[in-house]
């Protein structure tokens, strides 16, 4: 049992390192390892290639790792909370909450905090509000599919509101919002990376604090409560951490579909355990591996076809949802 988990954890970590190296050097302009070390250690003015490495390639790789790992973890949290293999931040409309508040603030020019923190803040608050809405609905809806439909409706509702906002927005704001909506890992600069990593690591740590409640929730809410779980507190904590991950990633990368739904299912199939200490680690690594691989593919195909990230993950993810529906839910 344990050996299987150790093996796959090491194996996927190793694969992640390999694919990350590939990711750094795969782009249209060939870069060398010297450029890579210069990006970190050179203080004097950088050459174009070195600058490319520092300002584009490295932040892009970090966003792929943060985005993949974070969305997978957010998905795992929701799947355990709702005891539903079809749950995920995208299908349940948590992303929509982020999109709605980001649209409200970028398209109308209304700001909460003024700086670059504004979008992050709006995205996290939006994700939290929609998370609480889904949570409220989940209390009165028993079927897995119904919850999914409610998530879809939240998405449609957001889409409608955003369309109206887009029509009344100035051309430039409209374009920047449309680009954001396609999902991309390229919009982050090196100077933003420390803040992103801080938020990300904070959320990962918080997930580890939730190990015991998550393990208990596997038994079902009633049994967990009889074993002493405080349901209300646990629900709010899980939704908060999910909102942190989803909001952060949606703010910087736009909506990325299905990673949060597919990866936790894959992780569980591979690790064959319900112990969340392992599942958290597994989801982080496999999620990162998945998104970095997607991005390598995008860069590799760049000259032939331009693939938006959200389109690629949907092409892989949508059939996967149908697969789970047939195999597990029916």
């Amino acid at each position: 049992m344990k050996y299987r988990i150790h093996f796959f954890l090491l194996f996927s970590a190793f694969a992640l390192v390999l694919i990350s190296v590939l990711h750094l050097f795969v782009g249209q302009i060939p870069l060398s390892f010297a450029d890579f070390s210069a990006a970190f250690f050179k203080n004097s003015p950088l050459s174009t290639n070195e600058l490319l490495m520092r300002e584009f390639r490295i932040p892009r790789l970090i966003m792929a790792i943060v985005g993949g790992g974070g969305l997978a973890l957010a998905g795992m949290l929701m799947q355990t909370l709702f005891n539903n293999p079809l749950a995920g931040p995208y299908v349940l409309g948590i992303n929509s909450g982020s999109s709605l508040l980001v649209a409200l603030s970028t398209l109308t020019g209304f700001t909460f905090l003024g700086t670059q923190l504004n979008i992050v803040f709006a995205a996290i608050v939006g994700a939290f509000i929609f998370g609480m809405i889904i949570l409220l609905f989940s209390l009165s809806v028993k079927s897995h599919i119904s919850l999914l439909l409610i998530g879809l409706m939240l998405g449609s509702f957001t889409f409608a509101v955003v369309s109206i906002l887009e029509l009344s927005a100035a051309a430039e704001q409209f374009k920047s919002f449309a680009v954001w909506g396609m999902g991309s890992l390229q919009q982050v600069e090196m100077s933003q990376v420390p803040l992103i990593l801080l938020f990300f690591l904070g959320s990962v740590l918080s997930s580890f604090l939730l190990i015991k409640p998550l393990n208990m929730l596997v038994l079902g809410e009633d049994s967990a409560v009889m074993l002493g779980l405080s349901l209300r507190k646990t629900r709010i904590l899980i939704i908060s951490v999910t909102a942190l991950f989803t909001g952060l990633i949606t703010a910087y990368c736009g909506p990325i579909a299905f990673v949060g739904l597919a990866v936790p299912n894959i992780t569980k199939l591979v690790f064959r355990t319900q112990q969340h200490a392992w599942l958290i680690g597994g989801n982080l690594i496999i999620g990162a591996l998945f998104l970095v691989s997607c991005d390598v593919l995008i860069q590799y195909l760049e000259e032939t076809v331009h693939l938006p990230l959200n389109a690629l993950t949907s092409i892989i993810g949508a059939p996967f949802v149908i697969f789970i529906l047939i195999k597990k839910v029916r």
Binding site: M1, M216, D222, M226, L227, K268
Partner: protein, 234 residues
């Protein structure tokens, strides 16, 4: 020791009342009654899943409903009538979760926790299945697993809601005998709802009968035959 003081069991309306009745550890009680008379409601009131309609229940002299929430799992354990199994959850992991009231904030299992889990698995003869996934076990083994999970909680009161409903004759027999032995050997107060009156006579269990005529719970210390119980509950 559980004492009922003018307890009215029921959620929105009072289903039946229990005037003055005490149940003791070291004994197993069979809870008998027709369908829909409120057997499950009584058991759920005892784990505080459902509030009482009136009166009170005392646990070792303390009002059950005044107890601190996190103390409850160390005093009362509950086994639901059917556990369907959970994919990728091994029997050992499942039973270990019963230690949750005793573990730290991360749920880390100490030496004593794993020891207790092993001890209970040995008692119920299910150690061979510990690494199997719970959704792949037979109904009988799975039900024993559910009881094991409640036993490792180490609560003096153990409640079971029709644990034999989905079992074949052989497993039923074995399960009830094992439970009675546990009540004595581990000094627990076991309340088990069931329609299996024959078995209760055979094992000479005290019977708690929900009388649907008087809407009262009556204790028969040692019923002589099935008719005696049936006469009361019908």
């Amino acid at each position: 020791m559980i004492c009922f003081k003018n307890t009215h069991v029921g959620y929105k309306t009072s289903l039946f009342e229990i005037n003055d009745l005490c149940l003791y550890t070291g004994k197993m009680y069979l809870l008998a009654g027709k369908n829909g008379t409120g057997k499950t409601t009584l058991l759920k009131s005892l784990v505080r899943s459902i509030p009482l309609h009136g009166g009170r229940i005392e646990l070792n002299g303390n009002d059950l409903h005044q107890l601190e929430k996190r103390m409850l799992p160390q005093l009362v354990a509950f086994v639901e009538s059917r556990f369907n199994g959970i994919p990728f959850l091994t029997l050992k992991d499942y039973i270990s979760l019963g230690r949750s009231p005793h573990t730290n904030a991360f749920g880390r299992l100490k030496e004593s926790d794993t020891q207790k889990t092993l001890e209970v698995m040995t008692l119920l003869n299910i150690t061979d299945y510990q690494d199997k996934f719970t959704d792949e076990l037979s109904d009988g083994i799975r039900q024993l697993g559910a009881i094991a999970r409640a036993l490792v909680q180490e609560a003096p009161v153990l409640l079971l809601d029709e644990p034999t409903a989905f079992l074949d004759f052989e497993n039923k027999d074995l399960l009830m005998k094992t439970l009675k032995e546990i009540a004595v050997s581990q000094n627990k107060c076991i309340i088990c709802s069931s329609h299996d009156l024959d078995l209760s006579i055979e094992l000479a269990l005290s019977t708690l009968a929900v009388s649907s005529k008087e809407n009262k719970l009556v204790l028969l210390e040692s019923p002589q035959n099935k008719q005696e119980i049936i006469g009361l509950i019908c």
